[in-house]
């Protein structure tokens, strides 16, 4: 039997370059620039590598024995000093040239969003007409419109990274950093924290959805609307068991400022800092086994609630669309 070929192995690696987590399938202007730099530098590197390997092949296999000293000296100085000097200078120029564009702010009047990193989730505030609409772990953006992100941290250093849309940017306590880009392709992208921030670092993710402007406006309008009290048992469980100490559900209670806003938690793709697909079972598991799913999380698990109460609560949360 034939051994698995190298090509097949490479194919396995390349398959992970596609998809919602990849910097190599760019869907934003800045990500494009970065991907281009990657491809150009890699190609140049590949060419140089090929030349170098060919030269080695030539001297070891084709023309063994002593070479003409003058020619060799020329090659060593030319290929070993002058050529790299020129090439590196060009590369530095090539990679630094787009920097001003990469760090430029979005034009004023662009959509502005404040994103704060916390152990281990993202607080998202849309700044609309001087007002803040607080959401969590999920960002929607209109396609082909620039967006300005203000990045902050409420505890330690995190780093905001949605590989398909832009480069990463640290969020630093006591300081505001900036990131702006224009998404160019509708789709569903994933983001992560890219700076080690404690036990739950790997469990700190987010969803970013790029949609048509009209869909975005409808979505934002829905997110802006407070939830309606329906007097259900789930709602009562939420209010009377201390959930409101940390979580706000606009229209029901706004005491809680510590944890994620849950006004429309049912509309999100994922819960628990972007790690569990959002459905009743996940919600129920999260309420029950919070600290098992995400060790050292700030939220206590609510094991003490009756099974019935937990079900009602999960059902009510899922219904907050």
């Amino acid at each position: 039997m034939r051994k698995p070929s190298v090509e097949l192995l490479l194919l396995g690696f390349l398959s992970s370059c596609e998809g919602s987590f990849s910097a190599l399938s760019p869907a934003g202007d800045k990500a494009h620039t970065i991907a281009n730099i990657f491809w150009v530098l890699s190609s140049v590197g590949l060419v140089i590598w090929l030349i170098f390997v060919s030269l080695q092949f030539y001297i070891y296999k084709i023309r063994r024995g002593p070479h003409d000293q003058k020619k060799t000296q020329l090659l060593v100085i030319g290929g070993g000093v002058i050529f790299p000097l020129i090439l590196i200078t060009i590369s530095i120029y090539y990679t630094l040239r787009p920097l001003p564009e990469l760090v430029a702010r979005a034009p004023s009047g662009s959509l502005a969003i404040k994103v704060s990193g916390l152990q281990w989730w993202w607080r998202v505030n849309y700044l609309i007409d001087g007002k803040e609409i607080e959401l969590a772990n999920e960002i929607w953006l209109p396609v082909n419109e620039p967006v300005q992100l203000y990045l902050e941290s409420e505890d330690v250093i995190h780093s905001f990274w949605v590989p398909s849309l832009a480069g990463k940017m640290d969020t630093i306590p006591g300081r505001r950093t900036h990131l702006s880009f224009t998404p160019t392709k509708t789709g569903h992208y994933r983001g992560v924290c890219a700076e080690f921030c404690g036990t739950g670092h790997a469990l700190m993710q987010m969803d970013v959805k790029v949609v048509e402007k009209k869909v975005f406006d409808e979505w934002l309008e829905r997110q802006r609307t407070p939830a309606l009290s329906d007097g259900s048992r789930g709602e009562k469980v939420f209010i009377t068991n201390g959930c409101i100490a940390c979580h706000t559900v606009r229209g029901i209670s706004d005491i809680g400022k510590l944890g994620p806003d849950l006004t429309h938690v049912g509309s999100r793709h994922r819960i628990a800092g972007g790690i569990l697909l959002n459905n009743k079972t996940s919600l129920r598991d999260w309420i029950d086994h919070t600290e098992i799913i995400k060790p050292e999380v700030k939220m206590p698990s609510f094991k003490m609630l009756t099974d019935e109460d937990k079900n009602h609560l999960a059902e009510w949360l899922e219904g907050l669309k």
């Binding site: 409420e154 201390g242 100490a245 209670s253 510590l258 939220m299 206590p300």
Partner: protein, 347 residues
């Protein structure tokens, strides 16, 4: 030299065999009625004294003159210690029947420093009837008892009954609780004990169960709750929850109360402290009603929560997560605030 080795080995072997046979045969009396030989008595008490003195050197005693500490210590003494150690006028009846005899405290206390008493009360004493403190997490309670013990030598039997205060309580059902909490559940001395009066019945019941199971830590309350049956727990919870809660005017400065109000109503976001009212203002009967509770009691509980030493019902984890980062002065403020609130019965 060599000729001595053999007889010594033979001697040791023979003594070992005789000793072993004596033990196995069971002819040695082990009864407490017999007492010790003077030599045994001396060896035991001498080594005990040395051990206590050496092992307590590093301890530092807090201020022990607080009347609330003395009052709490007295409560525990009445429930846990008096049977063996007696009071000044009355002898230690049960204590005289053990070997070694439980010392009469009035004679014994002057020999010891506060930190040494702490060591004895906390860990008990081997080869005697002195047990260790039921809940080693609660060193604050042990210092209460030490405060009382140091006070004890100055009072007579009448004083003792004044401080215990159960002379007029005939109902045996609530007598034990009344020693500390008063017959109406409002606490015997202002500020020394939590008010049980008007407290949520469900909370009182689950607290007693937690004490009984050792899930809430207290050397005194675990001792009391351990002997209570399920039925009595329910009835006691019902009885005290029905008593009217009295209000004691707070002496705390108004600014402190105001700061406490802000913490209670809004929490402290940068410190990740949640607003107290989200649970303690809710209708859930598992959450205790804190209005009018003595600030001293609240302070102790908050500190215990922060050190994860309080324990409690299954809901305790909410508090452990909610107060992780309160500073001492914030604890003071929020305790003062709840003490200042006037209790009104919920509908």
């Amino acid at each position: 030299m060599k000729k001595w080795v053999k007889p010594i080995i033979v001697f040791l072997l023979i003594s070992g065999v005789i000793g072993g046979l004596t033990m196995v045969s069971g002819i040695v009396p082990i009864g407490a009625s017999g007492g010790h030989w003077p030599i045994t008595e001396w060896i035991l008490s001498f080594s005990m004294e040395r051990s206590i003195k050496t092992r307590s050197i590093m301890l530092e005693s807090p201020d022990l003159n607080d009347p609330a500490m003395i009052q709490r210590g007295a409560g525990h003494y009445e429930i846990g210690c008096r049977h063996c150690h007696g009071t000044i006028d009355k002898t230690n009846f049960l204590g005289t029947k053990s070997t070694p005899e439980a010392p009469l405290l009035s004679e014994e206390i002057p020999h010891w420093k506060a930190r040494e008493l702490f060591k004895i009360v906390k860990h008990g004493v081997k080869f005697t009837g002195m047990p260790a403190w039921p809940s080693l997490e609660r060193e604050d309670e042990i210092w209460d008892v030490v405060a009382f013990l140091l006070h004890f030598k100055k009072i007579n039997d009448d004083d003792y009954h004044d401080i215990i205060g159960t002379k007029d309580i005939i109902d045996p059902f609530i007598k034990k609780c009344s020693i500390c909490h008063g017959s109406d559940g409002n606490g015997r001395l202002d500020g020394a004990f939590p008010k049980l009066s008007g407290q949520n019945e469900v909370y009182l019941e689950s607290s007693l169960h937690s004490y009984k199971k050792g899930e809430r830590n207290s050397g005194t309350m675990e001792l009391v709750a351990h002997s209570l049956e399920k039925e009595s727990i329910r009835e006691l919870a019902r009885y005290f929850s029905k008593q009217p809660r009295t209000h004691t005017k707070s002496n705390a400065p108004l600014e402190s109360i105001e700061r406490g109000r802000k913490i209670a109503e809004e929490g402290i976001k940068p410190q990740h402290v949640a607003a107290c009212i989200s649970c303690h203002g809710s209708t859930n009967p598992h959450f205790p009603d804190l209005r009018g509770q003595p600030a001293g009691y609240l302070r102790t509980q908050l500190k215990l929560f922060m050190e994860e030493k309080r324990g409690g019902s299954a809901y305790k984890i909410l508090m452990e997560k909610a107060v992780m980062k309160l500073s001492p002065s914030q604890i003071e403020d929020v305790s003062n605030y709840y003490e200042s609130l006037v209790f009104k019965k919920k509908n």
